[in-house]
Amino acid sequence: MSASTLPSELAEPASDHQLLEVSLGPQHPSTHGVFRMDVSLDGEMVVKLKPVFGYLHRNHEKIAEKCSYLGSIPYTDRLDYICSLTNNWAYAMTVEKLAGLVAPERAEYIRVILSELTRLINHSALAGFLLQDMGALGTPLMYAFREREKILDLFESLTGARMMCNYMRFGGCRCDLPPGWIEQTRSLVANFPSFLDEFEALLTGNEILQARTEGVGVLTPQLAVNAGVTGPMLRATGVNYDIRKVDAYGVYGRFSFRVPLGERGDVFDRYMIRILEMRESLKILEQALRDIPAGPIIDPKAKLRNLRPKPGEAYGRIEGPKGELGFYLISDGGPNPYRYRIRPPSLINLTILEDMCLGQTIADAVVILGSVDIVLGEVDR
């Protein structure tokens, strides 16, 4: 239908037609932290949406330029505070590239195990929060957090901390696994599918969940690739790009697992991809726990204190639970990095927030934001 055949009231807004501007956030439970969206509404429909950032900005990058290489590791925990161990890994890996260190095999296995456990934490918590945003207050989130607690107990017995783990070092890991840890993890991995089945029985077939998510916030693969969307968001649109497969960093090349892909790129696909990725993570965990070799956990050449890499630069990236988490370091030969840059997946996945929300209702915008999976500690840095 061309514009000329449209009824006149649709072609041009009537003069008494006013847009309502709403500032959603920064203190709003659905924004998952201090984040604001300036929304213009036509009735209930979103016609403009501008995300506003910076409430948690502390210029992490500048602070890290004043710290030694070792001193920044605890600070990376605070980026995406749900997944501190994957942040540690991305940073440790980049310093290893910059300084030419190689982590021993056992350390690489420990890293894989910890990062897949982190993925379980992130995806189950996200599914809980997403349902919370749709109005299922409490129950799904508490189910997810019950499982998260068990994994945090494992982290605590290994690293001494539940969330701010500060565990990985360039060239390996800080300490070896405590006795009995592998058996405990194995029993957690064996019991996790029953949680997923229970969670799915409660939610996936639920009529309200399907009504609120199917066809909502559709993202096309072309736009997703061009806008640099990564992680489960990208794979929900059907683009097969998982850095664990593409780069096969660490020892990921040794495990057999599949990359779940979506078809429509709507909120339901994003929810489903995360559930399926958890099942694949369990497969990786089973193999890693079975094959983990004995041996040292840190490169004996690794000089933790007063590391001075040769002048140069390195970019390292991993498949974090939220997408491609990258670090870019420039060394000028000194004890501090000359430039320390984080590629935050949460921030870049928000680039297309407006495109996904246009034409949807304000209540759907909340759900769409929930499905992007942001953590403001990482968005604002």
């Binding site: 910076g54 910059l98 630069e313 970019y315 990258g326 430039r339 840059r341």
Partner: protein, 211 residues
């Protein structure tokens, strides 16, 4: 993936007049980069994205780097006549590197699963000629990251659809990530500064306490 020399040759053939220069990287990571001239950067970016063999459809990481003017002391050997005999003498000479701001783009290909290709763009100086062409029209993923560079480094991206501050507040005037940035004494205004804030503030008022 083609080597960086091959890519350089392809770029120069595709966009005539482009000056591309390979910047070597001394670290074991061995990730060399291509320094492009600003005039042809957009055309080169378009070529890199659309060429079927290269297909760099995904600009992963975009960031700024500040390179202030630096004095480098170098020892050079000079032949000199000393007491009638020609001798080689070491002399220390100083040279200054030019100051500039740099934008670095890390490109990957999702279609062909290769990368990274690293592009660099440099401004004329750090003071008044700080404009670079924006690559947001080619890759949407640059949108927020170029805004962040504008915010923290003060590089002005020409052709960016929405160049505003992103992390700092709109009234903020300085560029915090620059190497010569001086921190404010007091980010949140304290009517009666005390303790550490007061000690920092006093440095600016040698005569006494600030009002």
């Amino acid at each position: 993936m083609e080597t960086i020399e091959q890519i350089k040759a392809r770029i120069e053939a595709a966009a005539p007049g482009t000056r591309a220069e390979i910047v070597l990287n001394g670290s074991p990571a061995n990730q060399p980069s291509l320094l492009l001239d600003c005039g042809h950067a957009r055309a080169v970016a378009q070529f890199l994205r659309d060429d079927p063999a290269l297909a760099f459809d995904y600009a992963s990481n975009v960031t700024g780097v500040d390179w202030p003017e630096k004095t480098i002391k170098e020892k050079i050997k000079v032949k000199k006549m000393m007491e009638g005999v020609e001798k080689e003498v070491e002399e220390v000479c100083e040279r200054k590197t030019p100051a500039y701001l740099e934008a670095v783009y890390h490109l990957y290909s999702m279609a062909r699963k290769h990368g990274p290709l690293i592009l660099r763009l440099r401004t004329e100086n750090r003071a008044d000629q700080v404009a670079l062409p924006s690559l947001t029209p080619v890759w949407r993923s640059c949108e927020f990251q170029e805004r962040e560079i504008f915010d923290l480094y003060g590089i002005h991206f020409e052709g960016h659809p929405d160049l505003r501050r992103i992390l700092m507040w709109p009234e903020f005037t300085d560029y915090p990530m620059r190497k010569d940035y001086v921190e404010a004494d007091d980010y949140e205004y304290e009517p009666t500064p005390h303790d550490a804030v007061l000690a920092r503030a006093r440095q600016h008022y040698p005569g006494g306490t600030p009002a």
